[in-house]
Amino acid sequence: MNIIIPHSWLKDYLKTLATPEKISDVLSLCSCSVEKLEKTADDFLYHIEITTNRVDMMSVSGVAREAAAALKQFGIKAEFKNDPYQIKKPKTAKTIKELTVKVDQQLCPRFSAVVLKKVSIIKSARIVSERLIKSGIRSIDSIVDISNYIMKALGQPVHTFDYDKIVNHKMILRKSLRGEKITTLDGKTFTLPGDDIVIEDGSGKLIDLCGIMGGLNSAVDKNTKNVLLFIQNYNPLFVRKTSMNLSQRSEAAAIFEKSPDPELVMPALLEACNLAKKNANTAGLSEILDIYPNPYKQKKIQLAPDYVNASIGKTLKNQEIITILKNLGFAVKTNDKCLEISVPSWRAKDISIKQDLVEEVARIYGYFNLPSVVPLGLPTKTQAEAKSFIWETKAKNLLSAWGFTEIYSYSFISEILAKISGVETGKLVKLKNPLSGDYSYMRPTLIPSMLQVLGQNTGNFENINIFELANIYLNQPQNLPIQKLNLDILSAGDNFFKIKGYLEALLKIFNIKFTVKAKQTKKEYFDHAKNLNYIAGEKVIATIAKISKKTLQSLAINIPVTAVEIDFEVLTSLANAFKSIKPLPKYPAIIEDLTFEFPHLAYYQEIVDLIKKVSPLITKVNLKDSFKNKLTFRIYYQHPTQSLTDKEISQTRKSIVNNLESKGLRLVGTLSN
C-alpha cells in the first residue's frame, strides 16, 4: 500500500524541528519506507510504502506517531501531538430514532452512524481541499471531502449518504445474493457475484457496496440537506473478495481488507463531526448510533529484556527497551525479571508474541546499530541428490563449450504445445488459474517449448544449437506431480550424426555404459523412423531423433531438426566420476581391415556387436570406410598379456566372416588361409 503525506499536514501531529529529509531517512530505517521525498512549491510530499501488517500507518497521524518515536532515538526532539485516540468518550446509543438498522454482526463488528443536519454543500475550506489535492485526492464538495480527509488523517474510511434519499430511513446490512445489481457513485453498474457485504434500504434496493463504494442512488449531491455520516468496520475477507472479484481497488477497500482498528471508529466519527461544523456549516447532530458488541480487550505480553538481547546480538539497558515501547504507544509494567507489555488497540492484529516486540525494539533502536557477525559452524549433511548439482554444471559447461547455447523457457505451455507433446490429458498437470491460454499446463517435456524457441530464432540464424535443463511435470493421482530434470538438445539442420556424437561424448564423460535400440520411441514429436534410444540400467536414459515432419509443420518450422532428450535424473544416478583403470597392454594390437558387402538387412550397430561378440581378443571395431553397399571394418585384436600371431587370430577372423555371412553380408576378397 502506498500513501502520500504532505509535510505540512504531518506537522499537525508531529512537533519537531527535523527536516523532511531527516524524517524520510529515519522513517525508512526504523519504520516505513519513504520511497520518494517530493519537493513542491510550498511543501514536501512523502511517498511512503506501508506494509500490509501496518494498516495503522495508512494515515498522517499513524506515520506521525512512528516518526516521533524514531526521531527521539536519533537524539532529535520530537513529540506526537493531537493523538486521535485521546478523546472524551461521547454518549452513544444502540438505536436512534432517525435510522432503523439491522446488522449482520459477522459481517460488521462495529456499526456507527450520525445524522448531520442542515449541511451546506459548498466548496471545502482551503486547507481541506489543498491537503487533499497534495495527497493525490480530488476535492469534490464540503461533505464528500470530509470522508476523504478523515480517512487520510486517521486511516479510517468514512462514508456519507444523502439521508433523505434513504426512503424509509432503514438499513439492512447483509450478504448480497448472486446476481443482485448496484450502481456505485462512479456510475459503474456491477452484477454482484454473491456474498458481498451490501446495505439494502428495506425495499430490496441496494444503497451501498460496503467497504468498496456507496450506491449512486443515495449519493450526496448539490441539493443534499441532511447527511448520514457512516463509519464501520467490516469483515476483511468479504471486502477483499468483493474488491478482487470486481477489480475495484479503492483506498477504502485496501484499508478495510487489512483489519483496521475498531477502536478508531469513534475518534474518526467525532473528528468528522467537528470538521462538518467547520467545513459544511452543519447545524446539528442526531444522537450517535454505535453498535459494537465486542469492544477491544487489552492484550498483554510478557517480555524478558534478556530475550530481546539474545535475539538482537547486543545488550540494551532495560530503560532503553521500555522507552522505545512507550514511545510507540505500548504500556509497560516492570515485574521481577520481565516486562509486562500492554498492546494498544491499533497494534492488536500485528503484535501477539514476544518476537513481535523484539522487532519493535530492534527497529526503533536501529538495525544499523547492531553488529555484523558471520556465524561460525560446520556445514550440514547433504541431500542424497546433491551430486546432481555437480553433474548439472558439468553437462552445461560441456554443451556450451561444444557450441550449444543454453535457454530458459517457461515451465508453462499452451494447449497447442500440450497437444504436440502427445501426452494424454490425464497425465498433464493442468493449472487451475492460468494467466492466459499460453500458460495452461505444466510441460511434460521440454521439446515443444524448445522447438518454439528454435522457430523464433530461424529468422536471424542458420545454425541453431540450443539446450535446456529443466523439470518436466507429470500428473500422479493423490500425490504431487512427478517433477524431474530433463536435459534436452535441439539442432537445426541435417545434423543427426554430429549431434549423436555429442550425446555419446557426454555419456562417455559421465562414464555410462549403454546399449542402443533403433526406432523404439513412440513419442509423437519424434520421427518414428529416425530415432535411437540409449539404454542403461534397463532404463531409456536418452533418445536422439529427428523431429517429425508433422510437428515441424504445426510450428511452421521448415528446416529439419535433430533432438536429444535425456532423463537427467537417471543419468546422474548412473553417472560415475571414478573410472576403473585398465592396465596398459604390453603388446601391440594386430590391426586389420575387412570389407563386406552389406545388403542393409541389419543395423550397423548390430553388425559391430556381432563382430565384438566373436572373441574377447577383439578390443575395438571401427567403421573405416563405407562406399556404396560396402563397409570396411577396422578390427583391433589384442591380448592383455601376450603378443598375438596371425595364426592365433585366424580362427577368430574366420568366425567373424562366418557370423556375418550368416547375416547376409559377404566378404569382399578372400581370407589368406
Partner: protein, 343 residues
C-alpha cells in the same frame, strides 16, 4: 652461334638460383630465363642462321639447359632451408573458430551464488517446485485468508485437495524448502541454500510469471539479527565487491519475525546518494528471523533454537551486479539468441 653464350646464360642462372633468398625470387628467375619471352626462348629466335645439323644440336643443348635450370629452381623451392617469403604465411587470415556456445545468465548467477554460500557452509538443496499448500503457506504461518493464498496471486494446480496437505500450488517462493529442510535434518544446526523456479501471477516489465529465487536458511542455538547482518554483508562483499555493504530496513513477512528488507549500497556513490540510486541504497530482497510457528511446524523448539532466512530473486540480484541495464526482465525468458549470444 657460339655455344659459350648458352653456357654463360646457364651459369648466370644457376648462380642466381643459388643465391636466391626465397621462392618468390626463384619464381622471378624462372620467368626471366624460362618464360615465354625469357632469355632461353630469345636464343631460339636466333637459330635461323644455323644449318639444319647445327639447329638440331643447338636445340638439344637448349632443352638440356632449360631442364637443368627448371630442376634447380624446383629443388631449391622444395628445400626446406629456404626462408619463406614473409607474405606467403599470412597470420591475419580468418581463424577457424570452434563453435561457441553460451550459458544462460541465470545459470551463471546460480553457479556464483551457490559457490559463495558453500564457502560459509550453506549446502545447496533441491525441493519441489510444485508443492503442497502446507509447505508453501500453512507451515509458514500464512493465515488461510492471506492474500498470497488466494487465486489472484498464486497459481494452483487443478487437482483435488489433500485432506492433510491441502491444495497443490506452484511455489511462489523458495521458502517451502524451509520446513522440508527442517524435516530432513530433524535437529539443528542447519544451513541450506535452496535455489529453484518460482511462480507468481504477475507479468510486466519487472515481473515474469516464472522466476528464480535463492533461499538461505540457518537454524542453530543463539542465532541473532547480528548473524543475519554478517551473512548479508559477506554475500554483498563476495558477490558485488569489497566496497559494498548491506543494511536492514523494517518490513513484514508472515514467516519471519522480525522481518527486513535488505538494501545494498549503490556501487557508484557507496551509500551517499547520487543520480543513479537517489537514496544511496538499492533493494536486494526480503529476510527475517524465522518465525517461531515455522520452527514449530518443522518440529524444532523455538525456545531452544532460532534462525534466520532470506529469499531473493536470482534475476534481480544478478541484474544489479552486472549492470545489465535490462529495461525489461522478460528479455531473460524470450530466448532471442542474439541476446543470449552476448553472455
Amino acid at each position: 652461334m657460339d655455344s659459350q653464350v648458352i653456357y654463360n646464360i646457364k651459369n648466370e642462372a644457376l648462380a642466381l638460383i643459388g643465391s636466391a633468398k626465397d621462392s618468390r625470387e626463384l619464381e622471378n628467375i624462372r620467368i626471366t630465363y624460362l618464360g615465354r619471352s625469357g632469355k632461353l626462348n630469345g636464343l631460339f629466335s636466333k637459330m635461323s642462321a644455323l644449318t639444319k645439323e647445327e639447329k638440331i644440336q643447338f636445340g638439344i643443348k637448349l632443352n638440356e639447359i632449360k631442364n637443368i635450370i627448371d630442376t634447380e629452381i624446383n629443388s631449391r623451392i622444395a628445400n626446406a632451408s629456404l626462408s619463406v617469403p614473409e607474405i606467403a604465411f599470412d597470420p591475419t587470415l580468418p581463424s577457424i573458430l570452434p563453435p561457441l556456445g553460451h550459458l544462460h545468465p541465470i545459470t551463471k548467477a546460480i553457479e556464483e551464488i551457490s559457490n559463495i554460500f558453500e564457502k560459509i557452509g550453506f549446502i545447496r538443496v533441491r525441493y519441489p517446485e510444485i508443492d503442497w499448500d502446507w509447505y508453501a503457506f500453512e507451515a509458514l504461518n500464512m493465515p488461510v485468508n492471506h492474500p498470497a493464498r488466494d487465486e489472484w496471486e498464486t497459481f494452483f494446480i487443478d487437482s483435488p485437495k489433500n485432506s492433510k496437505w491441502g491444495r497443490v500450488v506452484l511455489t511462489p517462493h523458495t521458502s517451502n524448502g524451509q520446513v522440508r529442510e527442517m524435516e530432513r535434518l530433524k535437529t539443528p544446526p542447519m544451513r541450506m541454500i535452496n535455489i529453484a523456479k518460482c511462480y507468481r501471477r504477475q507479468v510486466d516489465i519487472s515481473h515474469t510469471p516464472m522466476f528464480h529465487q535463492f533461499e538461505g536458511l540457518l537454524v542453530d542455538k543463539n542465532i541473532t539479527i547480528s548473524h543475519l547482518k554478517g551473512v548479508t554483508d559477506y554475500f554483498a562483499n563476495a558477490f558485488y565487491g569489497p566496497t559494498r555493504k548491506t543494511r536492514l530496513r523494517p518490513f513484514h513477512f508472515q514467516f519471519t519475525e522480525p522481518s527486513f528488507e535488505v538494501d545494498i549500497n549503490c556501487s557508484i556513490c557507496l551509500g551517499k546518494g547520487c543520480k543513479t540510486c537517489k537514496s544511496g541504497w538499492l533493494e536486494l530482497g526480503g529476510a527475517g528471523m524465522v518465525h517461531p510457528n515455522v520452527l514449530r511446524a518443522g518440529g524444532i523448539d523455538p525456545e531452544i533454537y532460532s534462525g534466520f532466512a532470506f529469499g531473493w530473486g536470482i534475476e534481480r540480484t544478478y541484474m544489479m551486479k552486472s549492470a545489465l541495464k535490462l529495461d525489461d526482465i522478460r528479455t531473460l525468458y524470450n530466448n532471442d539468441l542474439r541476446f543470449l549470444g552476448q553472455f
